[in-house]
């Protein structure tokens, strides 16, 4: 294999991942990104400078050994590379696809300054796909059993990651999921064209091989409380990873008109219930040839707008109250949305939805905004411009302005302390809550965040649950949360 000099490496172009052409993909639900070929992956890996100060690793929330795995990719040992990643990240095929790499590993890469960071996410995705498609994923329940049983509530990335580690430690793990399908947001939220469901299912199948039991249709809090799980159901510890699934609405007149959806409902109908298929039993508003407005600037807004395009909408606009720079969505999704023809209506906020006599949405009243002083998060606060209101026709509106923690389970456990924002109080390092034997992590603790952060929290909690089960001492020092 050809060895490149440092200088050569520094000047090589970043390999771009092949993708479906925009004109084609905006009419189908197949994955947009097609993934590196082995050749492209090796070329890209060879670009890595193998820095002695691994700033890229510092940029990854779970500390994936980036240099070590990229080195193996450069040598063509893709399976070995996958195994290296999996020491720190149990869901690389997923994270490679959905991590906001530009803010994390790739954002920290020294080559980012030249605008050409190593495509760490694409490489991660490539080796994980290689491993899966070649049947190289391994999972065997350890023969030494701990005799302890752990219940995991919620099958999103936090729950799945926690289950993986605990199963590997020889504990008996049961995952309870409220819906009929597993994967949390990975399944009902993120669309097929960005994260094929087959990948989530393959991860679940791995866990089954590790001996993890899954119980779907189990709404904890309703069918069993946490006390039931720890009591009559015989679990020694519980991990709560129920996510932030409560959709927020703007609280403006007309938001209950037909045609105004939360992003959760719209995406659930399309992703989980497969409403995009002609033979689906679940309806979704027929947007063919219609005008759609999506409110928000995060990944959820990008997903909803691109989903609406794929359902045949004639015009889809993202309406966001700040400017494009402030959008929290992944760069790639913003770029893809632009290419597919989504319109971006920035510095604009809805003030009212208007409908016809039958209660169907027909128009929206919008308002222009300008950026004022910076707020606590350091972003400049949008301020309405007085007298700037106007009305536009619209047939469907999707509200994607964020989700709050799901209150259903916390409501049924009085001894589980919550913050004023509705998140659970839990120690960041150990996941320990204020209730003995109960751990928590992911969006239910942080509020809506990212897959990798949820996964990391699940893994830290698993380590702490293992400690607790082996030592049996309950020590909880949940971080004091500002009220």
């Amino acid at each position: 294999m050809k060895e490149f000099t440092l200088r050569e490496r520094m000047t090589m172009a970043r390999q771009t991942m092949p993708e479906q052409p925009p004109g084609e993909r905006r009419a189908n639900f197949s994955e947009v990104n097609l993934g590196f070929t082995a050749g492209l992956a090796v070329l890209e890996a060879q670009r890595c400078l193998m820095c002695s100060r691994t700033v890229c690793i510092d940029g990854c929330p779970v500390g994936v050994q980036i240099t070590e795995f990229i080195d193996l990719v450069a040598e063509g040992d893709f399976d070995g590379a996958a195994k290296v990643i999996k020491r720190d990240n149990s869901l690389p095929a997923i994270c490679g696809r959905v991590c906001p790499q530009e803010d994390q590993c790739e954002g920290a890469c020294v080559l980012a300054r030249k605008g050409r960071p190593i495509a760490i996410g694409a490489l991660e995705r490539f080796v994980a796909d290689y491993e899966r498609l070649n049947g190289l994923m391994t999972a065997e329940p350890p023969s030494v059993r701990s005799g302890k049983a752990v219940a995991i509530v919620g099958s999103g990335p936090a729950g799945l990651a926690c289950a993986t580690d605990l199963a590997k430690q020889g504990h008996d793990v049961t995952v309870f999921e409220a819906l009929h399908a597993l994967g949390g947001v990975l399944t009902y939220g993120i669309p097929e064209f960005r994260l094929p469901k087959e990948i989530v299912q393959a991860e679940v199948a791995q866990l089954e091989k590790l001996g993890v039991a899954f119980v779907t249709n189990a709404v904890i809090g309703m069918i069993d409380t946490l006390d039931d799980l720890l009591g009559e159901e015989g679990f020694d510890a519980v991990f709560v990873g129920v996510g932030a699934g409560l959709p927020r609405f703007p609280n403006i007149p007309g938001e209950n008109l037909i045609g105004v959806y939360s992003a959760n409902e719209f995406l659930t109908r399309v992703n989980l219930m497969k409403a995009y298929r002609p033979d689906s039993e679940t309806p979704v508003y027929d947007v063919a040839g219609k005008r759609v407005a999506v409110f928000g600037g995060g990944n959820t807004a990008m997903d909803a707008s691109r989903t609406a395009l794929r359902l045949g909408a004639e015009k889809v606009a993202i309406v966001y109250r700040r400017s494009e720079e402030e959008m929290p969505a992944r760069n790639e999704e913003i770029v893809h949305a632009h290419h597919e023809g989504v319109e971006f209506q920035m510095l604009t906020n809805p003030v009212e939805f208007l409908g016809d006599d039958e209660g169907f949405l027909t128009e929206m009243r919008l308002q222009a905004m300008e950026l004022g002083e910076s707020d606590d998060s350091g972003r400049r606060r949008p301020v309405p411009i007085a007298g700037s209101e106007w009305t536009e026709g619209v047939d469907m509106a999707v509200v994607a302005i964020g989700n709050s923690p799901n209150p259903l389970l916390p409501k049924t456990a009085a001894d589980l302390e919550q913050t004023t924002r509705g998140t659970l109080v839990a120690d960041d390092e150990t996941g320990r809550t204020t209730k003995e034997g109960v751990f928590a992590g992911g969006d239910i603790v942080t509020g809506g965040a990212t897959v990798i952060l949820a996964m990391g929290a699940g893994r830290r909690a698993a380590a702490s649950i293992d400690d607790y089960l082996r030592g049996g001492v309950w020590e909880s020092k949940p971080a004091g949360v500002p009220v």
Binding site: H180, V215, M222, G245, Y261, P283, G359, P407
Partner: protein, 290 residues
């Protein structure tokens, strides 16, 4: 994975089936007024159905289902020995059960099935319970025998006079009120226009009235917001905040409109659907008084 076996299935009325389903855990936990979300086929829709009855010892729950569209019609094709793939629950807030002096349970069509468990619970709590069972005609008067076994008075009513009292449930209720009977509490469950009409009858008399709302649902866990209803100017999610609400505060017109969101889709999907007998259908529903 759990499989929910059907232990018994029989007809109660034209298009209305009684299903007894093995679900030991749900049977142990459920309280009156709660529901389950059912998915009948691998790619099927999720639909909410009230738990009409249960037996914790024998481990079953009962559902009473009116075949109004594709999914309910599929469910109603099932026989004893068949299985339902997904049954999630119990969901929703339990009914508020108290000892009222006199409580009236009003059911219109299959709404009687939804009211039944609450009527039983009200009786058990020591209330004097009057039951009004409305139907379009005699064959839609449901659960009369069951209601007679638990209630102090039972009045079947039919729109066409083919059985019992000739008139709407609200006519019978108005009679009870004008007989100067003191009524402390009314529970009304049925088509939206019926519930709205009951609310209009009881409001001037200041009788506390509760209705069980049936908006379109998806997850049933508070995640999608599709089931939102407006109660006293406030938006609520019926699946977690309800389904029972103060009748005098509910925006029934909004609910009726929202339930028509997919009317075209439903018609296409099930062209032989009978528009006359849909719980939750506003304009042509049974027992409607408007």
């Amino acid at each position: 994975m759990c499989i929910f076996e059907i232990l018994e299935a029989r007809d109660l009325a034209p298009d209305v089936r009684y299903l007894r389903i093995k679900a030991p855990k749900i049977a142990r936990r459920r309280k009156a007024g709660q529901f389950v979300i059912v998915r009948a086929t691998p790619d099927g829709e999720r639909i909410p159905l009230t738990i009409a009855d249960s037996n914790a010892e024998d481990g079953w729950i009962a559902l009473i289902v009116q075949g109004v569209g594709k999914t309910t019609k599929i469910v109603n094709l099932l026989e004893a020995g068949d299985a339902i793939r997904d049954v999630a629950g119990p969901l929703g807030m339990p009914s508020r059960i108290e000892r009222f002096g006199t409580a009236v349970s009003i059911g219109g069509g299959v709404g009687t099935a939804i009211a039944y468990p609450t009527a039983v619970a009200l009786k058990e709590a020591g209330s004097y319970v009057i039951s009004i069972i409305g139907g379009r005609n005699s064959s839609y008067v449901l659960l009369e025998e069951e209601m007679r076994a638990v209630c102090d008075e039972v009045y079947p009513t039919t729109d066409d006079g083919s059985y019992g009292y000739h008139g709407f449930v609200t006519d019978k209720l108005t009679d009870l009120i004008s007989e100067r009977r003191h009524l402390d509490f009314v529970l009304a469950i049925g088509p939206i226009p019926m519930m709205k009409a009951v609310a209009e009858v009881t409001h001037p008399h200041g009788i506390e009235t509760v209705v069980s709302l049936n908006p379109i649902m998806v997850d049933g866990t508070g995640m999608c917001g599709g089931c939102r209803v407006v109660v006293g100017e406030e938006t609520k999610f019926a699946c977690v905040d309800g389904p029972e609400f103060d009748a005098h505060q509910v925006d029934f017109d909004l609910l009726a409109r929202r339930n028509r969101a997919y009317a075209d889709f439903e018609r296409r999907r099930d062209d032989e659907m009978d528009p006359e007998c849909v719980i939750g259908r506003s304009h042509t529903a049974p027992g409607a008084t408007s």
